[in-house]
């Protein structure tokens, strides 16, 4: 899993300027993880981007009181939608991994049942990828990165 940047904070610094700095870093991390997330051959990419959205969402919620309300609400809603779309892909990824590992441990005669679960998870993974592709397009077209950086700017 990609490690989040270590952000130095001091307790005396103003809440709003700390929020602005942290939102900037977490926004950059999120967008840095967008490349190759639709590749089902490397499921860690989706995982890393999902974790990055969680961290960004968390800091947005923590520093909510520092941002202009309408812009904040709209950006948070879009980050949540992106996180949900990443979850649609990630959940079947995890199930597939678990099912394949389990199937490898049981008697070959017992595997057909697990194969049915694997088939279902593969279909969910494909459907999740379609949802994610749309969410990534929306992320670009709505200028989410710019809006998040503008939020940080407004907090200072």
């Amino acid at each position: 899993m990609a490690k989040a940047a270590d952000i130095e904070v001091t307790p005396e610094e103003p809440f709003a300027s700390a929020g602005a700095r942290i939102v900037r870093v977490r926004t950059e991390e999120l967008f840095a993880h967008a490349d190759g997330v639709l590749d089902t051959g490397d499921i860690e990419r989706v995982h890393d981007m999902r974790v990055a959205t969680r961290r960004l969402r968390a800091v947005l919620e923590i520093f909510a009181s520092c941002f202009p309300k309408p812009e904040f609400k709209s950006a948070l809603r879009d980050v949540k939608a992106l996180a949900d779309a990443l979850g649609e892909r990630r959940d079947p990824d995890v199930h597939l991994d678990a099912m394949r590992a389990f199937a490898a441990q049981i008697a070959p005669g017992q595997r057909p049942g697990i194969a049915k679960l694997i088939e279902r998870a593969e279909a969910q993974q494909e459907a999740g990828n379609t949802v994610l592709a749309l969410a990534l397009e929306e992320m670009e077209s709505s200028g989410l990165q710019g809006r998040l950086l503008a939020l940080a700017e407004a907090a200072e």
Partner: protein
């Protein structure tokens, strides 16, 4: 689960003072799920407790460096708790899916057996031996058993972990740590 709102946050105030308020609320939120989540049947409470742990972890990862030393220890403790609750949650999500597939193939087989029974007065139990999905049932049964056993074992580990936290005064020590102020930074767990 909607997070409890934190009263009295002041954007013009210091990070330390605002973070203290947030951590206090998130910590109380986490602890409030016990003892309800100690009942293995309370799946929703356990799931919500995991979300509460995640919220506490993230605020501590960001602001923990500004508090007393125990806040650093708490990041790791909360992450361990969140991970364990996540593993239990995975079992809770997978079990209904496995049961659903089992039900669907049982219904599929039942239709085949009815056809094979033809105009018999009753169903011959021996027909089950030749049900089309008989081997699939065996695998799904094994997986159900595995998930039930894993869930039970992980749940026991969760109770043990929480007991350890209580014994080591996790809540009280973190409540004290957030009243202290320091300046170092730590990487996220």
């Amino acid at each position: 689960m909607k997070a409890r709102s934190v009263k009295g946050l002041d954007p013009a105030g210091t990070l330390g003072d605002n973070a203290e308020r947030i951590v206090a609320v998130r910590l109380d939120e986490l602890c409030s799920f016990m003892p309800r989540a100690a009942d293995p049947a309370q799946v929703t409470a356990l799931h919500d407790m995991r979300i509460a742990a995640k919220r506490l972890r993230y605020i501590l990862e960001i602001t923990g460096p500004g508090f007393g030393p125990y806040a650093r220890t708490a990041v790791k403790l909360v992450k361990d708790l969140q991970d364990l609750l996540g593993e239990i949650h995975d079992c809770d999500v997978q079990l209904p899916e496995v049961r659903e597939i089992s039900r669907l193939i049982a219904e599929e087989d039942a239709k085949v057996l009815v056809r094979r029974a033809g105009d018999a007065a009753d169903l011959d139990p021996a027909l089950v031996k030749r049900a089309p999905n008989r081997s699939a049932h065996a695998g799904l049964g094994a997986l159900t058993t595995h998930l039930l056993a894993r869930r039970e074992l992980l749940f026991t580990r969760f109770l043990e972990l929480w007991e350890t936290y209580e014994r080591k005064a996790f809540r009280t020590r973190l409540e004290f740590a957030i009243t202290e102020r320091s300046g170092a930074s730590i990487p996220p767990a």
